[in-house]
Subunit: 205 residues, 2 copies
DNA sequence: TAGATTGTTAATCGATTAACAATC
DNA sequence: TAGATTGTTAATCGATTAACAATC
């Protein structure tokens, strides 16, 4: 019987991973401790050790964690050893920004396709990509066995696009549309709506 | 003694607000219930009632909630009756997308300034705005008593910009830089890093 | 009135933290 | 060895849910 690992724990692993890479690459550190990592992230050292303990024993008493080793382990756990090809749906300003963003590199993802329905945009070059007709969405996704997509279409079209993506096998969706989307069990969805984030903060002003 | 309302409750209020507006504007509904709202958002009706109960009694037994009334109340709670002027720091692709995004309208925010350090970009028109020299950041923020900012600069500059914003009075920051930022108590910070969100989802693939 | 739904209480469930033996 | 830090246990803390009297 495999223990069910809490979602909230999974959600912190990428944060640990990002900071560990920063420690190694930007600061040239070889080792770190749960205390050091926690201090930098505003997370208790106990929580970091507890989170990691769900997956194995990665540290050594007295010396802490070898950063490169822990990075490798976290990448395995999160299935980031391979590179995931990502489809972006919507070639507006935000789709444009995503197509040009280099922050995906070496972090497990590559934007490989971008779709739009506007005849003016279809065929246009965007960074390394050419904007494809969204009419071919199903064909491209299915043929390439795409599992990850980013939705940057208007709210009015987001549910339809979601349904089409899910129907042809996409199982991880990041949506920038300001709307709650319904997805079947087994499909992960994550949202990014700047207004929602700002509205939470104005409460405290 | 005022009850301390959990952060996690505050975080759900904007979600409720967004869906209530959708119910009213897109579907013409006048009333709703915690059950209906919860079903649409994938949240239990008990949680919605409990969350709202922290702030008062907004519903009626038998008939539920009058949507417009609840919307008004939530806007008051979240301090969205006024419009907050927002400074965007960074006029790259993402800053460009934010400047053109119309999703802030009627939701409590207006992008009023955009800054960059690149002489090529300073002076350029972006939607209704002109790109300002980041050297004038402190002056503009202080003179206009700006409390809310969005950071879209490279990770390498994000902490410096954060410190400068905080020093002149900004207290709510939304950062798109892929890095954890240190802020003093009393300053709220929220992050948006698409890679972090994608990495959490690939665990389940 | 009968049916529906609220606001709230108490119980349950789950996450975080403190503490420490083990050990590098 | 002495100091440091892990992984883990138990205690604490906090959030969610079930249930229901009140009442529209």
């Amino acid at each position: 019987m495999t223990r069910e690992i809490p979602d909230i724990v999974i959600g912190r692993l990428p944060i640990y991973l990002r900071e560990l890479i920063r420690l190694a690459e930007d600061e040239g550190k070889i080792n770190t401790s749960s205390h050091e990592l926690g201090k930098r992230l505003g997370i208790s050292s106990a929580q970091i050790r507890k989170d990691l303990s769900h997956f194995g024993e990665f540290g050594k008493q007295g010396t802490g964690y070898h950063i490169n080793y822990l990075v490798t382990q976290l990448r395995e756990i999160l299935q980031l050893s391979q590179e995931w090809h990502v489809a972006v749906v919507g070639a507006g300003y935000l789709g444009h920004a995503l197509a040009h963003y280099h922050g995906f590199e070496h972090r497990g993802f590559r934007i490989s396709w971008i779709f739009d329905s506007d005849p003016e945009k279809i065929g246009q070059q965007m960074d390394q990509l050419v904007v494809l007709d969204v009419a071919n969405l199903e064909k491209v996704i299915a043929e390439n066995n795409v599992k990850v997509a980013i939705i940057v279409v208007p709210a009015s079209h987001a549910q339809e696009i979601t349904d089409r993506l899910v129907a042809v096998g996409v199982r991880s969706i990041l949506s920038y549309a300001p709307i709650h989307l319904a997805v079947p069990a087994g499909v992960e969805i994550s949202y990014s709506d700047p207004v929602i984030q700002l509205q939470r903060m104005t409460y405290y002003l």
